[in-house]
Symmetry: C2
Subunit: 158 residues, 2 copies
Protein backbone atom coordinates (compact mmCIF):
# COMPACT_ATOMS: atom_id res chain seq x y z
CA UNK A 1 0.00 0.00 0.00
CA UNK A 2 1.34 3.41 -0.91
CA UNK A 3 -0.81 5.36 1.57
CA UNK A 4 2.26 5.30 3.81
CA UNK A 5 4.43 6.75 1.09
CA UNK A 6 2.02 9.57 0.36
CA UNK A 7 1.76 10.36 4.06
CA UNK A 8 5.52 10.58 4.33
CA UNK A 9 5.66 12.80 1.27
CA UNK A 10 3.01 15.27 2.38
CA UNK A 11 4.54 15.42 5.84
CA UNK A 12 7.85 16.42 4.28
CA UNK A 13 6.14 19.05 2.18
CA UNK A 14 4.37 20.37 5.25
CA UNK A 15 7.64 20.55 7.19
CA UNK A 16 9.28 22.41 4.34
CA UNK A 17 6.39 24.87 4.24
CA UNK A 18 6.41 25.44 8.00
CA UNK A 19 10.15 25.91 8.07
CA UNK A 20 10.07 28.43 5.26
CA UNK A 21 7.23 30.37 6.84
CA UNK A 22 8.64 30.14 10.38
CA UNK A 23 5.70 28.21 11.78
CA UNK A 24 6.16 25.86 14.71
CA UNK A 25 6.07 22.16 14.10
CA UNK A 26 3.60 21.02 16.73
CA UNK A 27 2.36 17.49 17.33
CA UNK A 28 -1.21 18.68 16.70
CA UNK A 29 -0.36 19.87 13.22
CA UNK A 30 1.28 16.60 12.27
CA UNK A 31 -1.56 14.58 13.75
CA UNK A 32 -4.14 16.59 11.82
CA UNK A 33 -2.33 16.24 8.52
CA UNK A 34 -1.85 12.54 9.05
CA UNK A 35 -5.44 12.06 9.99
CA UNK A 36 -6.73 13.99 6.99
CA UNK A 37 -4.67 11.82 4.69
CA UNK A 38 -6.28 8.72 6.12
CA UNK A 39 -9.74 10.00 5.12
CA UNK A 40 -11.03 9.04 1.70
CA UNK A 41 -13.44 11.56 0.25
CA UNK A 42 -14.83 14.69 1.83
CA UNK A 43 -14.86 15.74 5.44
CA UNK A 44 -15.93 18.77 7.40
CA UNK A 45 -14.77 20.23 10.69
CA UNK A 46 -17.24 18.25 12.71
CA UNK A 47 -16.49 14.88 11.18
CA UNK A 48 -12.76 15.56 11.43
CA UNK A 49 -13.08 16.59 15.06
CA UNK A 50 -15.16 13.54 15.91
CA UNK A 51 -13.05 10.99 14.10
CA UNK A 52 -9.85 12.35 15.62
CA UNK A 53 -11.38 12.16 19.08
CA UNK A 54 -12.49 8.60 18.35
CA UNK A 55 -8.91 7.70 17.57
CA UNK A 56 -7.80 9.18 20.88
CA UNK A 57 -6.34 12.45 19.65
CA UNK A 58 -8.45 15.35 20.82
CA UNK A 59 -7.67 18.74 19.30
CA UNK A 60 -9.64 21.92 19.81
CA UNK A 61 -11.73 23.29 16.98
CA UNK A 62 -9.63 26.45 16.97
CA UNK A 63 -6.56 24.39 16.23
CA UNK A 64 -8.35 22.50 13.49
CA UNK A 65 -9.31 25.75 11.79
CA UNK A 66 -5.88 27.17 12.31
CA UNK A 67 -4.14 24.13 10.86
CA UNK A 68 -6.51 23.68 7.92
CA UNK A 69 -5.69 27.27 7.04
CA UNK A 70 -2.03 26.36 6.73
CA UNK A 71 -2.79 23.21 4.78
CA UNK A 72 -4.90 25.17 2.33
CA UNK A 73 -2.14 27.70 1.94
CA UNK A 74 0.42 25.06 1.00
CA UNK A 75 -2.06 23.26 -1.27
CA UNK A 76 -2.20 20.02 0.70
CA UNK A 77 -5.93 20.37 1.29
CA UNK A 78 -8.74 21.64 -0.91
CA UNK A 79 -11.81 23.43 0.38
CA UNK A 80 -15.31 23.17 -1.06
CA UNK A 81 -18.42 25.17 -0.41
CA UNK A 82 -21.40 23.18 -1.62
CA UNK A 83 -24.60 24.97 -0.75
CA UNK A 84 -24.93 26.95 2.47
CA UNK A 85 -23.93 24.12 4.84
CA UNK A 86 -20.55 23.68 6.48
CA UNK A 87 -17.48 23.85 4.28
CA UNK A 88 -16.18 20.54 3.07
CA UNK A 89 -12.55 19.65 2.60
CA UNK A 90 -10.52 16.91 1.01
CA UNK A 91 -6.89 16.08 0.65
CA UNK A 92 -5.28 17.45 -2.47
CA UNK A 93 -2.26 15.25 -2.94
CA UNK A 94 -2.81 11.85 -4.55
CA UNK A 95 -6.38 12.84 -5.24
CA UNK A 96 -7.13 13.69 -8.87
CA UNK A 97 -9.12 16.77 -9.58
CA UNK A 98 -12.70 15.66 -10.08
CA UNK A 99 -16.07 17.16 -10.77
CA UNK A 100 -18.91 17.44 -8.28
CA UNK A 101 -22.52 16.74 -9.06
CA UNK A 102 -24.73 18.36 -6.45
CA UNK A 103 -28.45 17.85 -5.96
CA UNK A 104 -30.10 21.19 -5.19
CA UNK A 105 -32.93 19.42 -3.37
CA UNK A 106 -31.27 16.97 -1.00
CA UNK A 107 -27.74 18.37 -1.10
CA UNK A 108 -26.21 15.03 -2.00
CA UNK A 109 -22.77 15.33 -3.61
CA UNK A 110 -21.63 12.78 -6.15
CA UNK A 111 -18.18 12.75 -7.67
CA UNK A 112 -17.36 12.03 -11.25
CA UNK A 113 -14.00 11.26 -12.75
CA UNK A 114 -14.76 12.34 -16.30
CA UNK A 115 -12.64 15.43 -16.25
CA UNK A 116 -14.37 17.78 -18.61
CA UNK A 117 -11.56 20.29 -18.77
CA UNK A 118 -8.04 19.88 -20.01
CA UNK A 119 -5.07 21.49 -18.34
CA UNK A 120 -4.10 23.24 -21.54
CA UNK A 121 -7.43 25.05 -21.49
CA UNK A 122 -6.72 26.27 -17.97
CA UNK A 123 -3.31 27.57 -18.98
CA UNK A 124 -5.05 30.03 -21.27
CA UNK A 125 -6.25 32.14 -18.37
CA UNK A 126 -4.29 35.36 -18.29
CA UNK A 127 -2.68 36.99 -15.28
CA UNK A 128 -3.71 34.19 -12.98
CA UNK A 129 -1.95 31.22 -11.40
CA UNK A 130 -4.39 28.34 -11.25
CA UNK A 131 -3.94 26.19 -8.18
CA UNK A 132 -7.03 24.03 -8.63
CA UNK A 133 -10.51 24.19 -10.01
CA UNK A 134 -13.91 22.94 -8.99
CA UNK A 135 -16.59 21.98 -11.39
CA UNK A 136 -19.96 22.07 -9.65
CA UNK A 137 -22.85 20.68 -11.61
CA UNK A 138 -26.15 21.54 -9.95
CA UNK A 139 -29.40 19.81 -10.70
CA UNK A 140 -31.85 17.29 -9.37
CA UNK A 141 -30.95 13.68 -8.66
CA UNK A 142 -33.23 10.87 -9.75
CA UNK A 143 -34.60 10.33 -6.25
CA UNK A 144 -35.56 14.00 -5.81
CA UNK A 145 -36.87 14.47 -9.33
CA UNK A 146 -39.28 11.65 -8.58
CA UNK A 147 -40.35 13.40 -5.38
CA UNK A 148 -40.82 16.64 -7.33
CA UNK A 149 -43.07 14.97 -9.87
CA UNK A 150 -45.19 13.50 -7.09
CA UNK A 151 -45.53 16.90 -5.44
CA UNK A 152 -46.51 18.61 -8.68
CA UNK A 153 -49.11 15.97 -9.43
CA UNK A 154 -50.63 16.47 -6.04
CA UNK A 155 -50.81 20.25 -6.63
CA UNK A 156 -52.45 19.85 -10.03
CA UNK A 157 -55.17 17.67 -8.54
CA UNK A 158 -56.09 20.13 -5.81
Amino acid sequence: MDGEKIRKQVKDEFIEYMTLHKHRKTSERFAILDHIYSIKGHFNMDSLYDSMKDEGFRVSRSTLYNTIELLLDCNLVVKHQFGANASQYERAYGNENHDHIICIDCGDVRESRNNLISDTQLKKIKKFTVSYYSMYIYGVCSKCSHARRMKLNRMRKK
Copy 2:
Protein backbone atom coordinates in the same frame (compact mmCIF):
# COMPACT_ATOMS: atom_id res chain seq x y z
CA MET B 1 -33.24 48.14 -25.18
CA ASP B 2 -34.48 44.63 -24.56
CA GLY B 3 -34.08 44.75 -20.79
CA GLU B 4 -37.78 45.58 -20.73
CA LYS B 5 -38.62 42.56 -22.81
CA ILE B 6 -36.62 40.21 -20.62
CA ARG B 7 -38.25 41.65 -17.51
CA LYS B 8 -41.67 41.05 -18.97
CA GLN B 9 -40.71 37.51 -19.93
CA VAL B 10 -39.33 36.51 -16.54
CA LYS B 11 -42.32 38.08 -14.83
CA ASP B 12 -44.62 35.89 -16.90
CA GLU B 13 -42.55 32.84 -16.08
CA PHE B 14 -42.67 33.72 -12.41
CA ILE B 15 -46.45 34.16 -12.54
CA GLU B 16 -46.82 30.80 -14.22
CA TYR B 17 -44.66 29.17 -11.58
CA MET B 18 -46.54 30.79 -8.69
CA THR B 19 -49.90 29.88 -10.17
CA LEU B 20 -48.89 26.27 -10.65
CA HIS B 21 -47.51 26.01 -7.14
CA LYS B 22 -50.36 27.94 -5.54
CA HIS B 23 -48.17 30.73 -4.25
CA ARG B 24 -49.60 34.19 -3.76
CA LYS B 25 -48.59 36.93 -6.17
CA THR B 26 -47.54 39.68 -3.82
CA SER B 27 -46.17 43.09 -4.77
CA GLU B 28 -42.99 42.31 -2.83
CA ARG B 29 -42.26 39.28 -4.98
CA PHE B 30 -42.70 41.17 -8.22
CA ALA B 31 -40.62 44.07 -6.98
CA ILE B 32 -37.79 41.76 -5.96
CA LEU B 33 -37.75 39.93 -9.28
CA ASP B 34 -37.84 43.18 -11.19
CA HIS B 35 -35.09 44.63 -9.10
CA ILE B 36 -32.85 41.60 -9.48
CA TYR B 37 -33.24 41.78 -13.23
CA SER B 38 -32.02 45.35 -13.21
CA ILE B 39 -28.75 44.29 -11.56
CA LYS B 40 -25.86 43.40 -13.81
CA GLY B 41 -23.49 40.89 -12.29
CA HIS B 42 -23.50 39.41 -8.82
CA PHE B 43 -25.33 40.55 -5.74
CA ASN B 44 -25.80 39.35 -2.21
CA MET B 45 -28.60 39.78 0.29
CA ASP B 46 -27.09 42.91 1.76
CA SER B 47 -26.51 44.70 -1.51
CA LEU B 48 -29.96 43.71 -2.73
CA TYR B 49 -31.56 44.94 0.49
CA ASP B 50 -29.68 48.22 0.36
CA SER B 51 -30.27 48.97 -3.30
CA MET B 52 -33.97 48.21 -3.00
CA LYS B 53 -34.25 50.51 -0.02
CA ASP B 54 -32.39 53.19 -1.97
CA GLU B 55 -34.99 52.93 -4.70
CA GLY B 56 -37.74 53.40 -2.15
CA PHE B 57 -38.92 49.82 -1.85
CA ARG B 58 -38.10 48.43 1.57
CA VAL B 59 -38.58 44.70 2.02
CA SER B 60 -37.63 42.69 5.07
CA ARG B 61 -34.70 40.35 4.87
CA SER B 62 -36.99 37.41 5.62
CA THR B 63 -38.97 38.21 2.51
CA LEU B 64 -35.83 38.51 0.45
CA TYR B 65 -34.70 35.06 1.54
CA ASN B 66 -38.16 33.67 1.04
CA THR B 67 -38.50 35.07 -2.46
CA ILE B 68 -35.00 34.17 -3.58
CA GLU B 69 -35.85 30.61 -2.60
CA LEU B 70 -38.75 30.63 -5.05
CA LEU B 71 -36.67 32.23 -7.77
CA LEU B 72 -33.99 29.60 -7.36
CA ASP B 73 -36.60 26.88 -7.53
CA CYS B 74 -37.97 28.12 -10.84
CA ASN B 75 -34.48 28.75 -12.22
CA LEU B 76 -34.77 32.49 -12.60
CA VAL B 77 -31.86 33.09 -10.25
CA VAL B 78 -28.58 31.26 -9.73
CA LYS B 79 -26.80 31.00 -6.41
CA HIS B 80 -23.06 30.95 -5.89
CA GLN B 81 -20.97 30.14 -2.90
CA PHE B 82 -17.51 31.59 -3.43
CA GLY B 83 -15.42 31.12 -0.32
CA ALA B 84 -16.94 31.33 3.15
CA ASN B 85 -18.51 34.76 2.76
CA ALA B 86 -22.16 35.50 2.07
CA SER B 87 -23.80 33.69 -0.83
CA GLN B 88 -23.84 35.52 -4.09
CA TYR B 89 -26.63 35.44 -6.63
CA GLU B 90 -27.20 36.49 -10.18
CA ARG B 91 -30.07 36.40 -12.60
CA ALA B 92 -30.21 33.30 -14.74
CA TYR B 93 -32.27 34.37 -17.71
CA GLY B 94 -30.51 36.34 -20.43
CA ASN B 95 -27.22 35.69 -18.69
CA GLU B 96 -25.04 33.04 -20.33
CA ASN B 97 -23.46 30.41 -18.17
CA HIS B 98 -19.94 31.59 -17.47
CA ASP B 99 -16.93 30.48 -15.52
CA HIS B 100 -15.66 32.11 -12.35
CA ILE B 101 -12.05 32.78 -11.59
CA ILE B 102 -11.59 33.30 -7.87
CA CYS B 103 -8.51 34.57 -6.08
CA ILE B 104 -7.96 32.55 -2.90
CA ASP B 105 -6.06 35.45 -1.34
CA CYS B 106 -8.21 38.53 -1.89
CA GLY B 107 -11.48 36.78 -2.82
CA ASP B 108 -11.86 38.74 -6.01
CA VAL B 109 -14.14 37.05 -8.54
CA ARG B 110 -13.54 37.49 -12.24
CA GLU B 111 -15.84 36.13 -14.92
CA SER B 112 -14.79 34.55 -18.14
CA ARG B 113 -16.92 33.82 -21.15
CA ASN B 114 -14.80 31.05 -22.62
CA ASN B 115 -17.14 28.25 -21.81
CA LEU B 116 -14.91 25.28 -21.28
CA ILE B 117 -17.68 22.72 -21.26
CA SER B 118 -20.11 21.78 -23.97
CA ASP B 119 -23.72 20.95 -23.29
CA THR B 120 -23.34 17.56 -24.92
CA GLN B 121 -20.76 16.63 -22.33
CA LEU B 122 -23.20 17.55 -19.56
CA LYS B 123 -25.91 15.39 -21.09
CA LYS B 124 -23.69 12.37 -20.47
CA ILE B 125 -24.32 12.48 -16.73
CA LYS B 126 -26.58 9.62 -15.77
CA LYS B 127 -29.61 9.74 -13.54
CA PHE B 128 -29.35 13.46 -13.09
CA THR B 129 -31.15 16.49 -14.52
CA VAL B 130 -28.65 19.30 -14.91
CA SER B 131 -30.14 22.70 -14.27
CA TYR B 132 -26.92 24.67 -14.35
CA TYR B 133 -23.26 24.33 -13.59
CA SER B 134 -20.58 26.46 -12.06
CA MET B 135 -16.97 26.32 -12.96
CA TYR B 136 -14.86 27.74 -10.16
CA ILE B 137 -11.21 28.20 -10.93
CA TYR B 138 -9.25 28.97 -7.79
CA GLY B 139 -5.81 30.44 -7.76
CA VAL B 140 -3.87 33.61 -7.13
CA CYS B 141 -4.41 36.79 -9.10
CA SER B 142 -1.47 38.79 -10.38
CA LYS B 143 -1.81 41.42 -7.65
CA CYS B 144 -1.78 38.87 -4.84
CA SER B 145 0.93 36.69 -6.34
CA HIS B 146 3.13 39.75 -6.30
CA ALA B 147 2.26 40.32 -2.64
CA ARG B 148 3.08 36.67 -1.91
CA ARG B 149 6.49 36.90 -3.52
CA MET B 150 7.28 40.01 -1.48
CA LYS B 151 6.27 38.28 1.73
CA LEU B 152 8.36 35.19 0.97
CA ASN B 153 11.40 37.29 0.18
CA ARG B 154 11.05 39.05 3.50
CA MET B 155 10.85 35.71 5.31
CA ARG B 156 13.92 34.34 3.55
CA LYS B 157 15.97 37.36 4.61
CA LYS B 158 15.08 37.08 8.29
